[in-house]
């Protein structure tokens, strides 16, 4: 019990003193995970919308693959991204292994299926006749897609939250492709693993609390936006 109290006190102390190292680690976590979430939105929403509306042979298979991808284990992603990014790997010429860019890449791979999967579900949940109505009113196909995406914006915000939540909290991929390098690729989750390994449980607890607060803050913001428009 003492340990948890110590951890909370330590967290308050670190935050109150604006400890520069903790601040840098926190900002980097936020930067990397926000970037990855944004990339996953840019890829996942169009892909999900397309899959929800289009009909083609093998569509069910692709949707099943995406749904499986929603539970993609971060360590597996980490391992494959590492192998690809090795100096002698297929993408070695990029020279981004052990940099934040590599972490953004790995986290995007984790978040994109999550966003795409929720997008498919949200678009398909719209009233079946909506599509026909919109077309009957003279919209072009592109306008129709835009209107459907707009109609699904509330559940799509859930996709943003799930994607962000998935990447800000993962450690397996970050530690493999980032290497937990001090001042370069150390983020909240990898720092927590390291401090636990070092036996600095109070610092580890402090970092965890900061991570939780951060995740809560971002989700609270998104929820406020989402619930503002809740159908009453």
């Amino acid at each position: 019990m003492d340990l948890i109290l110590d951890g909370i006190l330590q967290a308050l102390r670190l935050v109150a003193h604006l400890d520069s190292e903790v601040l840098a680690v926190t900002l980097l976590s936020l930067k990397i995970s926000c970037s990855a979430t944004m990339i996953s939105l840019l890829l996942g929403i169009p892909a999900g919308t397309l899959l929800a509306l289009a009909t083609f042979p093998g569509r069910r298979l692709v949707v099943s693959l995406i749904n499986t991808g929603m539970g993609l284990p971060p360590v597996v992603v980490g391992l494959f991204v590492t192998i690809f990014l090795w100096r002698n790997g297929p993408l070695g010429f990029l020279e981004i292994l052990y940099t934040p860019s590599a972490m953004v890449l790995a986290q995007s791979v984790i978040a994109t299926p999550i966003v795409a999967g929720i997008t498919i579900a949200s678009i398909q949940n719209l009233p079946a006749n909506l599509k026909l109505q919109v077309l009957a009113l003279g919209a072009t196909r592109l306008q129709m897609v835009w209107i459907l995406v707009r109609e699904a914006r509330l559940p799509l915000l859930a996709a943003v939250m799930a994607g962000f939540g998935g990447v800000i909290s993962e450690v397996g991929a970050s530690i493999m492709v980032g290497g937990n390098i001090k001042g370069q690729t150390r983020v909240l989750t990898t720092a927590t693993v390291m401090e636990t390994g070092k036996g600095n449980f109070d610092v580890a607890i402090a970092l965890s609390l900061i991570l939780l607060t951060l995740a809560f803050g971002v989700n609270y913001l998104l929820t406020v936006i989402q619930q503002r428009e809740r159908p009453r």
């Binding site: 981004i96 290497g179 636990t196 036996g199 936006i225």
Partner: protein, 284 residues
Amino acid sequence: MTTKQIQMRIMTRAVLILALVWGTVVWAAPKTIILATTTSTQDSGLLDVLVPQFEKESGYVVKTISVGSGQAMKMGEKGEADVLLVHSPEAEKKFMAEGYGITRRLVMHNDFIIVGPAADPAKIKGVTVASAMKQIAQSGAIFISRGDNSGTHAKEKGLWKAAGITPDGQKWYQQTGAGMGQSLNVAAEKKSYILTDRATYLALKKNLGLSILNEGDSKLLNIYHVIELNPVKSPKIHSAGGKAFADFMISRKAQDSIKGFGVEKYGAPLFFPDAGKNPASLGL
């Protein structure tokens, strides 16, 4: 303003902020070298002192990847690192013989110790390390092994072999597959015996509740070498950077830092500088 407009504004701002954040994520910095090393040099905090000194002096940026010695050498073989700081002498000799390294220089040493619950159920205090291993096996007290091909794990396997014991598959023999710090935490929780380097133990001691039960045998020496990698094996190795780091590790300045590291905090040095010494003087 309607709700819709407010919402649009919030959305545009959110996109702008995200774009800014994305723009500031740094891309690969120039002049970086990759140091593959053991968990003990990281978990003890030594590299947090040495790496910034080297970076300031040389202008290189070091990416420290702290893994077991076995994995560090694998990275070296594949050309995925530029310099190694490792402590697994037998494996290192093989590594050099196969031509993966160009120089291998003595940096420092400390020693391995066997720690465990103060009650010492296997009564290993004061006996030779070979008897200690035998007694642990006979008593059936839990022994935690790193099991990760690290330098410490290699040393441990050597000690079992020397004692004529095959621990694999025994109920009392449990492998964590984790770093030194993590494994010590597991051993503390299970009140079991474990082989550890002294530096990591001293750095973590306060939370462990494990005591030093066997130490001092010459077989327990823990020796660290810095290895420059052979660019012929993999042309992508930054050999100039690797050489700069290796030279730094045996420089006066680094050796003094090693000597003083931890004295203030733990009352005793964690590592003993050895640059330029004849390995034979350490009993090798």
